[in-house]
Amino acid sequence: MMTTENELKKIDDKIKLLRNTAEELKSLAENIPAITRNTTRLLASVKMMELNISDCIDFDI
């Protein structure tokens, strides 16, 4: 039933990449609200993926 640890790690790597990319984008476009506000919303979605997967990796569950 469980997804393997290796699969979870790969998913987590991509989530972390998404966070880094979104944060970089936010700082690059700090004078463009159309980008920064959309990035804020994107980061909220990234957080949900972290709660769903990354927490298990980060807390060594």
């Binding site: 919303r41 909220a44 949900m48 709660l51 298990c56 807390f59």
Partner: protein
């Protein structure tokens, strides 16, 4: 064993208990640290108790963390920053959502949420809707007056998140809502048990439409205990020819529990997102095993703007002994929320839960859905009056109905009632939280 497609997130929903508890402990520490660092209220509360984040290593340590009550939130919100007060953990400009409690028990409490919190609300709902069989092909009708109360707002966003088509019932009246369900062939519905029963009644008796012949196949009920009361659930399921699922949430807490499609006789607690503790009302000890009712103390493990840490919800619950055939490892609370600590009251020296009366009234054929209970002083004694309605066409069975009602009430509640039969349609109808229990002794 159910297949992977039955879970919104099979990773968390099937975690073995030991791992789930490790996750909860780590997440509790994270939210505690966050509140300690970012809220004057929380830091002061914990400093007074002599607790710092370093002191939390186990569930036993968590039990020493001071509880927060709704009355405390009312005091906090008299302080700056307006209007939320110093439990707020983020700058005001990060708050994107305002909601408030219904005010049933006093001055409403304001609830700020960031966009991340709002995503989290929808995520919690996604767990519950997926577990209840909602899928992208569903067309969900929400007959809710979208306003300052959170109610089904998050259900709307949660249904969107899982890919459903959502029809906002908004300010339409009940008849227009029924016609819209019929016109669009909606497949699912959300509402309070009282209102969903009322809709069925309106359809049948005022519009000549049999709700069982509409296309609704599942209904999510929240806001009242009704969908967890077997006789009420059965009435709704029969009226709509649909599966009815219970859900419990609260403005200050979030969407913390849900019945799954296996209908195990209770609700799963989303233990990946919430830590639920059950406290013995008399001793204050934490009840860890099944079979004993107590008061829920709950922590939302991921809510950041106005954290909910060891909130004294006053909801009465108990752990079920069984696991669920759906395969989720999230524990079940038996029968859902069975009452509230401030509703369960002693009458004639006997503990009385209003939900027990509802269970009896709605189990009797020939009685309408509505009822009213009035407890009052009669000299030195106490008297309970129960008002019920006879269904049209049931008048000739009044004696046998009264006899059955009296017997069942005596059996289920150990109390005697003065029963008044009202004409059908004369007791109050409610759209949101019903107020059917009136304790006049306190006046």
């Amino acid at each position: 064993m159910a297949d992977k497609q039955n879970y919104w997130n099979l990773v968390l929903e099937t975690l073995p208990l030991e791992k789930l508890q490790k996750l909860q402990l780590n997440k509790f520490l994270r939210i505690f640290q966050w509140a300690y660092n970012n809220s004057k209220f929380h830091r002061s509360l914990y400093e007074k108790a002599g607790i710092t984040p370093d002191d939390i290593q186990s569930f036993e340590d968590i039990r020493h963390v001071p509880k927060v009550e709704k009355s405390m939130m009312r005091d906090i919100q008299k302080k700056d920053p307006f209007p939320y007060g110093d439990a707020l953990c983020v700058p005001l400009e990060e708050v994107t959502e305002y909601r408030q409690t219904s005010g049933t028990t006093g001055q409403p409490v304001y609830q700020p949420d960031t966009w991340q919190d709002w995503e989290w609300w929808a995520e919690c709902w996604a767990y519950l809707l997926w577990a209840q069989g909602y899928r992208p092909a569903d067309r969900v009708f929400i007959p809710f007056g979208y306003n300052v109360f959170v109610a089904f707002w998050a259900g709307h966003y949660g249904a969107e998140k899982i890919g459903c088509e959502v029809v906002p019932g908004g300010v339409l009246d009940t008849k227009s809502r029924i016609l819209k369900i019929q016109e669009l062939r909606a497949t699912a519905l959300m509402g309070t048990p009282t209102y969903i029963l009322g809709m069925a009644d309106t359809a049948r008796n005022q519009m000549g439409i049999d709700p069982a012949e509409l296309t609704i196949n599942k209904i999510t009920c929240a806001g009242e205990p009704g969908a967890g009361i077997p006789s009420t659930k059965k009435r709704i399921e029969t009226a709509w020819n649909a599966k009815v699922y219970d859900h419990a949430g609260a403005t200050e807490i979030g969407a913390w529990s849900y019945e799954c499609s296996h209908q195990p006789g209770g609700m799963h607690v989303n233990e990946a997102f919430f830590l639920v503790e059950i406290e013995d009302i008399d001793t204050g000890e934490i009840i860890t095993g099944p079979g004993k009712r107590g008061k829920m103390i709950i922590t939302a493990l991921d809510r950041v703007a106005q954290p909910c840490i060891r909130f004294d919800s006053k909801d009465i619950i108990e752990w079920a002994p069984e696991s669920c055939s759906c395969g989720r490892t999230f524990r079940i609370i038996k029968g859902g929320v069975v009452g509230r600590a401030d509703d369960i009251t002693k009458v004639k020296g006997v503990l009385l839960a209003p939900s027990a009366i509802e269970e009896v009234v709605r189990s009797i054929n020939g009685l309408g859905d509505e009822y009213e209970v009035i407890v009052e002083k009669a000299g030195d004694a106490e008297k309970i009056t129960l008002k019920v309605e006879l269904m049209p066409g049931s008048k000739d069975r009044r004696q046998s109905i009264e006899s059955k009602l009296t017997d069942q009430l005596r059996l289920k509640t150990n109390l005697r009632y003065d029963i008044i039969f009202n004409d059908y349609g004369t007791l109050p109808r409610y759209e949101v939280k019903a107020k059917r229990f009136k304790d006049m002794r306190k006046k």
